[in-house]
């Protein structure tokens, strides 16, 4: 499977049809989940009335914050061990998008927290704290890559940091959980299965899948842009060298 990553050309042909599908399917799922979440689904007084409708945006963003960082770490590992260029291009493309959804998760969580707990930032919320540190891990990764002078060094430094960050996420999560006492325990996927009523659950899963597909499409397009950029740079370098 890993050799599949090796060849940028093969990725370009694959992503040329896969990205549009992700966009279309993602848009469809998000639209359906929004329509359900905002129009159809009944208000749940126990969960604070209409405010819980924000979860159809907040929960997918929280999921993507964690999943995209882990994806970036896996891509970094593949690049670090097998030096497949496409894996590095993927890691570099995931970072800014992952940071965007992480920021979105923090923002919507803060807006959701104001009427629910009366504060814009709930320090005792373990999941929000973990997402906050994911955001810093993304910022550190992007800042480090930008600070390196050549593309190869940026890839190698970024890979090291992404792997160190990933290996620390469980420890950060555990320490934050220990630190926080008051928290709305994870109601979607828990040990004894989702506790939420099906009428909320399906739109939530749909929006989660929809956001993920949209995210995947955007990553692929950003990767295509990076590959074209590198090709242009290589041609310019050859032109300059005059051979």
């Amino acid at each position: 499977m890993f050799s599949w990553f090796a060849n940028p050309h093969r990725f370009l042909t694959l992503s040329s049809w896969l990205a549009p599908i992700c966009y279309a399917l993602g848009a469809l799922l998000i639209a359906w989940s929004l329509w359900q979440g905002l129009w159809i689904v009944p208000k749940d007084e126990y969960q604070g009335g209409d405010i819980m409708r924000v979860m159809f945006l907040h929960v997918p963003a929280a999921w993507l914050a964690m999943a995209s960082y882990m994806g970036m770490a896996v891509m970094s590992f593949i690049w670090f061990i097998w030096r497949h260029e496409v894996a590095d291009i993927a890691a570099k493309a995931i970072a800014p998008l992952g940071a965007t959804w992480t920021a979105l998760c923090l923002a919507t969580g803060s807006i959701w927290g104001k009427p629910t707990w009366g504060t814009w930032w709930q320090w005792d919320d373990a999941r929000m704290m973990s997402v906050l540190f994911m955001f810093f891990l993304f910022l550190g990764y992007m800042a480090l890559r930008a600070a390196m002078d050549t593309r190869q060094k940026a890839a190698r430094a970024g890979a090291i940091l992404a792997m160190v960050g990933a290996i620390n996420v469980p420890l950060i999560k555990f320490s934050v959980d220990l630190f926080t006492s008051l928290h709305q325990d994870a109601s979607v996927i828990t040990v004894d299965g989702p506790k939420m009523a099906a009428v909320y659950l399906w739109p939530l899963l749909a929006s989660g899948l929809g956001h993920s597909l949209l995210f995947a499409g955007l990553v692929m397009t950003l990767m295509r842009a990076e590959i074209w950029q590198r090709r242009a740079a290589q041609i310019r370098a050859r032109l300059m060298a005059g051979d």
Binding site: L34, L38, W39, K43, G48, G49, D50, I51, R53, V54, L57, H58, A61, L97, T100, A103, L104, A107, T108, I111, W112, K114, P115, L214, L218, T221, L222, R224, A225, E226, W228, Q229, R231, A232, I235, R236, R238, L239
Partner: protein, 54 residues
């Protein structure tokens, strides 16, 4: 046509507006970056072609 929400309507619309702005912004920048990169590559290939002919 828009749904009626209780007292927290402002917060709900604010969250979704923010979502639309950030995700919309991400989509626009990515599409623009892709289009620019593709155009740049085409331009460079043309220049390379001319250089080879000279």
């Amino acid at each position: 046509m828009l749904p009626e929400f209780d007292k927290n309507a402002g917060f709900i619309w604010a969250s979704y507006a923010l979502g639309a702005i950030m995700i919309g912004g991400a989509i626009l920048t990515v599409m623009m970056k892709a289009r620019l990169a593709k155009a740049e590559l085409a331009r460079t290939q043309v220049r390379a072609e001319e250089a080879r002919q000279k």
